[in-house]
């Protein structure tokens, strides 16, 4: 790092020498809004012109800030003097300096208010509570600082869909380092989180267009990114899954898990690879999670079995009713009332799945039984509709009798006529 800075400084010297020759006159003719930084840097080789070229797309540019507002120096001075420390030139910050570099404005509420009164100003403080921030303080230059996530010179508002911190990009952004096993060597943490997350329901929800779906930062925090502690896991999940958390904490598992040092939700649902839960997870079958701890004969085992039976019963009655209603609908019968009833049965199934987190068979069965009763009613309505369809045959019988009478009348008429 050191060497590269020194070597680059003499390149700058040469390059700027050349640049002055070229851009001197054009700067002189420039109107009041002149910016000598951009004027010179855009003529330089890639390494030195890139910021100037990127910057017009930057949110700070749109806010009316120029290079000098961050890097210091004098943008009205066309000479190399513009970059003298005397003119407040700060140059490019080292990695360790970056949080404070950004924080010069972003941690200053009075200043930020001019641009966006509702923007928070605690990011820097929060950053230093994060694992990234702490390691940076310890002199680790590999950790992420502001620009690693927000990019630099082409910084976009987090609400801009192109921004690397826009919800749909957050996971990729974190993965740039965290999924790179080589880069993460020495930290002794896994690098498969991103791959696991990609398989999760949360990633699927994000992919499905729900930008409020959780991504890395939702659980780990953004500026204060830290793995949630054992005790806070349930709270983190509970910010969205409120009912599940409440039920879980009141359940027998709540205190026991805490005492055993088991991380609540994660115990069954995993952390990054949070798959869509299956009803088969509950119960005593081969895919059931309950049986990883509970054995045949204990209360938990019995409850698991009962809950799972309740599910099966609800689902099979629901299915049965759905099939009958489908048949009825296909044959053109009106069953929309029963259909609406069925949405309630569907709600019951969803509610029962939440109620599982109480791990109390009676509570779950109360809900599933309600759903079973509703489905049963809908099923009966469907059967009644099919009966009604068949009932039409009675009307047919009457018409057929009339037709038979007419046919026999005709028959005899013909016979009579042709004989007489």
């Amino acid at each position: 790092m050191k060497r590269s800075i020194t070597s680059s400084s003499w390149i700058i010297g040469c390059a700027i020498g050349v640049a002055i020759v070229f851009c001197g006159p054009s700067v002189a003719s420039a109107a009041p809004a002149k910016d000598s930084c951009v004027a010179c840097h855009s003529q330089l080789p890639d390494e030195y012109s890139k910021p100037a070229k990127l910057y017009p797309g930057d949110i700070h540019h749109r806010a009316g800030l120029s290079c000098a507002d961050c890097h210091g120096g004098d943008r009205n001075d066309d000479s190399m003097n513009a970059m003298s420390p005397a003119k407040g030139f700060r140059g490019a910050p080292t990695k360790a300096q970056i949080p404070a570099f950004c924080g010069r404005c972003h941690s200053n509420p009075a200043y930020m208010r001019k641009f966006n009164p509702s923007l928070r100003t605690d990011q820097e403080t929060e950053y230093f509570t994060s694992v990234h921030g702490k390691k940076l303080k310890q002199g680790d230059a590999k950790v992420a600082v502001c620009v690693d996530c927000h990019s630099v010179h082409d910084i976009l508002a987090p609400s801009d869909p192109r921004a690397p911190v826009y919800p749909t990009h957050v996971a990729e952004t974190c993965a740039r380092c965290h999924a790179d096993a080589n880069y993460m060597k020495g930290y002794n943490i896994p690098t498969n989180q991103y791959a696991l997350y990609e398989k999760s329901v949360h990633a699927a929800a994000m992919e499905g267009g729900d930008t409020s779906a959780p991504t890395c930062s939702t659980c780990h925090g953004n500026h204060g990114a830290t793995p949630p502690g054992l005790n806070s896991v349930a709270n983190v999940c509970g910010t969205c899954h409120v009912m599940n958390q409440e039920l879980f904490e009141k359940s027998p598992h709540g205190p026991i898990f805490a005492k055993m040092g088991l991380p609540g939700c994660v115990q069954c649902h995993s952390n990054h690879e949070i798959l869509a839960p299956r009803d088969s997870w509950v119960g005593t079958g081969p895919k059931a999670i309950c049986v990883t701890c509970h054995v045949a004969g204990d209360n938990g085992y019995k409850a698991a079995k009962e809950i799972s039976n309740g599910f099966d019963k609800l689902k099979s009655t629901y299915q049965k009713a759905d099939t009958v209603l489908n048949t009825a609908e296909k044959s053109g019968m009106e069953v929309s009332n029963a259909r609406v009833e069925m949405t309630n049965a569907h709600s019951d199934l969803i509610k029962a799945r939440v109620a599982v987190h109480s791990f109390n068979a009676a509570d779950v069965l109360k809900i599933t039984n309600e759903g079973v009763a509703t489905s049963q009613k809908a099923y009966e309505a469907g059967v009644a509709a099919l009966h009604e369809r068949d009932y039409r045959r009675k009307g047919l019988a009457l018409a057929l009798i009339a037709i038979v009478i007419a046919i026999s009348g005709l028959y005899f008429k013909i016979r009579k006529m042709e004989r007489g």
């Binding site: 053109g332 019968m333 369809r389 047919l396 037709i403 005709l410 013909i414």
Partner: protein, 362 residues
């Protein structure tokens, strides 16, 4: 009372010349022999056509020919409108029954060589009516806008696209665009309720006129026996003897229709989703199955020709030959080799249709 009746009839006769009709009816006779039964099928087809017109008019009162409203309106007819299910089921069943009856009518005429001189035009007009009825079936099938119909129409109109040179144009014309959309539905509706019925009515009138003018054809075998004096020449008056029997047949058809409609109500299916994937096992209506199955068996390329194109060409040529059979089989009156060849051809066609339809259903 009797006096009033006579006076009314006289009044009408004076103005309409009903005596001519009476005269005509008195003299019109229908040959009587062991094949007379086949004479009834044309009448039944006509009766079913009338049923189609009547139930079609009733359906028009509630039907909406738009992609967003078609399925719902048919559902509405079947669930909300009193006897709507019956009207729709009868319309659907009657359509299928009519096509079946027309097949029977066509083949009976073919095998009895009734197309021979001077009835060539009767045959040709009948064939045109047959194609028209298939078009009725094809366009009507889409109107409820359900999944099966949607994809069947898609495949069917795709076929039109294989026709050389004009194929693309025909397809776009049928679909009202490049894809099967609501525009196709509106178009098919127009064909089904205005264009086709108009043409069909004229053709039916022409067909019937020819039948009345030329009378019923006696099969060559019977004719020969009569000439040889082996069999007596028998006949019955058209009115009322034959007509009453005709009506008997209509009543039979009506009973069958009612029974089918009530015992097997025509299903509505699920609403078409143009962006959904085609359901497994889509197939056209049964009367197109033999063609559908043939195309399935053809390899995608035969020499340099597309399989589909080849199939279409084969059916096109076969159809054309079928239409002009009266002109090719000019010796139909006798028992020459040519005539036997055409009888064999008919048996082959009938067998082919039956076998391939059955294969498609399996």
């Amino acid at each position: 009372m009797a006096d009033l009746k006579r006076r009314t009839l006289d009044w009408l006769n004076e103005r309409l010349g009903g005596e001519g009709i009476e005269e005509f009816l008195r003299h019109k006779r229908v040959p009587l022999h062991r094949h007379t039964i086949w004479y009834y099928f044309g009448g039944i087809a006509l009766f079913l056509f009338v049923i189609q017109v009547l139930t079609g008019i009733l359906l028009l009162m509630y039907y909406r020919p738009t992609a967003s409203g078609a399925f719902e309106s048919v559902q509405f007819i079947m669930t909300q409108v009193k006897f709507g299910w019956l009207i729709r089921s009868i319309h659907s069943w009657s359509a299928n029954l009519m096509i079946f009856i027309i097949f029977v009518h066509m083949f009976s005429v073919f095998f009895m060589k009734a197309y021979r001189k001077p009835r060539e035009l009767t045959w040709v007009s009948g064939m045109l009516l047959f194609f028209l009825v298939l078009a009725f079936g094809f366009s009507g099938y889409l109107l409820p806008w359900n999944t099966l119909a949607f994809f069947a129409t898609k495949v069917g109109t795709d076929m039109a696209g294989f026709v050389p040179i004009f194929g693309k144009w025909i397809m776009v014309f049928l679909r009202g665009g490049n894809q099967v959309t609501g525009a196709t539905l509106t178009r098919f509706f127009g064909f089904h309720v205005a264009v086709l019925p108009g043409i069909a009515t004229m053709l039916i009138a022409f067909h019937l006129l020819l039948v009345q003018k030329l009378g019923m054809s006696v099969p060559p075998g019977v004719e020969r026996k009569i000439k040889a004096g082996v069999e007596p020449e028998r006949s019955m008056p058209f009115f009322p003897n034959f007509l009453l029997r005709d009506i008997l047949g209509w009543y039979g058809a009506l009973g069958a229709l009612g029974a089918l409609a009530a015992i097997f109500p025509w299903e509505l299916g699920t609403k078409a989703n143009p962006f959904g994937s085609a359901p497994a096992g889509i197939h056209p209506e049964w009367y197109f199955l033999f063609m559908f199955q043939t195309l399935k068996y053809l390899p995608s390329k035969v020499f340099f020709i597309d399989g589909e194109l080849l199939g279409l060409m084969l059916f096109g040529v076969a159809g054309a030959i079928w239409v002009v059979v009266p002109f090719l089989d000019y010796k139909a009156g006798g028992f020459g080799r040519v005539t036997r060849f055409f009888t064999g051809l008919g048996i082959f066609a009938l067998g082919y249709i039956i076998v391939f339809s059955c294969l498609a259903l399996l």
